[in-house]
C-alpha cells in the first residue's frame, strides 16, 4: 500500500525528539494510517534516535499498535468481564459469522476489521461493541447486523 508520509513530520514536530515520545508518536501514526507502516517505523527510529529494533519491540508489545493495514471501519468487541458475562462471546460469534472473518482479521474488501479488546471501560452498558469511534451499549444479537451496516 502506498502512503503519503508528509504528515509524519507534523507528528514528529509535536514531541521532543527522545525515546520518551516513542509511544505517543506511534499512537499518532497508528491513528493517521490505522496501522504502523514500515517506512513510518524506520523514520521514527531515525528522528527519535531510538534503535529500530526497540521501535519494533514497542510496536509489537502493546495492543494499540498493528503492523498490518486495517479496514475502513474497525469493530471492537469489548471482552471485559462485565461484557463477557453478558454475552460478548455470542456477539463475537455472530460478527465473525456475519463478516466471514475471525477476530483480528480484515474483510477482503478492506471495509471492516474485527477485533476483540480488553475492557473499554463502559462496563455499565455491557455488552459493548465499538464501531469506529462510536460506542454501542447493551448490544443484542438482533442488533448485530445493523452495526455492520451502519455507515
Amino acid at each position: 500500500m502506498k502512503h503519503n508520509f508528509d504528515n509524519l513530520n507534523l507528528i514528529f514536530d509535536k514531541y521532543p525528539k527522545t525515546q520518551e515520545s516513542l509511544i505517543a508518536v506511534l499512537q499518532d501514526i497508528q491513528k493517521e494510517y490505522q496501522y504502523l507502516p514500515c517506512e513510518a517505523l524506520e523514520q521514527t527510529s531515525e528522528v527519535l534516535d531510538v534503535p529500530l529494533s526497540k521501535v519494533f519491540s514497542v510496536s509489537t508489545f502493546y495492543n494499540s499498535f498493528s503492523l498490518t493495514a486495517k479496514g475502513d471501519k474497525v469493530i471492537k468487541i469489548c471482552t471485559g468481564t462485565a461484557c463477557h458475562i453478558r454475552g460478548a462471546k455470542l456477539l463475537q460469534d455472530q460478527l465473525e459469522n456475519h463478516l466471514s472473518i475471525k477476530a483480528g482479521e480484515t474483510t477482503e474488501d478492506m471495509k471492516f476489521t474485527l477485533e476483540v479488546v480488553a475492557c473499554v471501560g463502559a462496563c455499565a452498558m455491557a455488552p459493548v461493541v465499538v464501531v469506529g469511534e462510536k460506542y454501542h451499549g447493551s448490544v443484542k444479537v438482533s442488533k448485530v447486523k445493523k452495526l455492520v451496516k451502519a455507515k
Binding site: 529494533s53 526497540k54 519494533f56 508489545f61
Partner: protein
Amino acid sequence: MIHITINGKVVQAKDGEMLLTVIRREQIDIPTLCHHEAVEPSGACRLCMVEITKPSWDGWCDYVTSCLYPAEDGLIVNTHAPKVNELRSSILDMFLARHPKSPEIRQLAAEYGVMKTQFEEVVDGDNCILCGICTRICDTMGFKAISMVGRGHGKEVAPPLNMAPAACVGCLSCAKNCPTNYIEYNMKNGGLTIWKKDFEMIACTECGATTITKEFAEYLSVNRDIPFDYFEKCDACHRKELAGTMGRIANWDREARS
C-alpha cells in the same frame, strides 16, 4: 565484607554483590538459563530462586531470584530448600512442555527428575526459551540489532520488521551464547549468513583463514580506534610475523656479539 550463611556454611561476600555470584563462588550448583555475566541480570527464567531468611524474620522465609538479590549481612540462604526444588522442577517441566525437542532442556529437566512433561506439549514448539541473553548481549555490545518481538506466549526474538537487520555486524555473539543453540547461522565459502543477512568474512592476507566479518572489523576500526590493517591477518600469521620480527632483532644481536 559481610557474612552470609549458605546451606549452613558461613561465607564472606561483598556488600551488594548478587547472591548468585556468592553461591557460584562457593561451587554450589544451581541452574540458570537466562544468566550471563556480560549483561545485567534479568530474573526471567526463575530457576536460580533460593529461600532466604534472617533470624529477625521470626521464622518467615522469602523466595527470591539469587541473580538479582543483593547479599546483606546476616542473610541465611538455602539453595535447595524443598519448595525451591519443587519450583525448579515445575519450571523445568513447563520448559519441557514448551520445548520438548531441545536436548539442553531435556538434560537439565532430567537432572531435576523430570523425564516427561505432565503438561500439554506445545505443537511445533521451537527451542527458543526467550531468555533474552541474545538480545541483551546485542544491546550491551551496542548494536541493538535484534530484540524481543510481541509479548506473552507468542513472543519471539527477531530482527526489526523481520528483515535483515541493518545494525547487525555478524559478530555471532547471539548465536554463540544461546543456551539452547537455537539461533542458526551459516558459514561457508568465506561468507556468513545470520538473521537472513549476508556477510563477507575477512580472509587472512597470508593464509586465507577467516576470523570475523568485514562489517564487524569496520565497526571496531571506526568506533574503537583500532587500525583496520590489524584485522587483515589471522592470529596465527600475526604470531608468525611477531616471531619473524623478534627473530631478526635477536639475530642481529647474536651476530653483533659473535
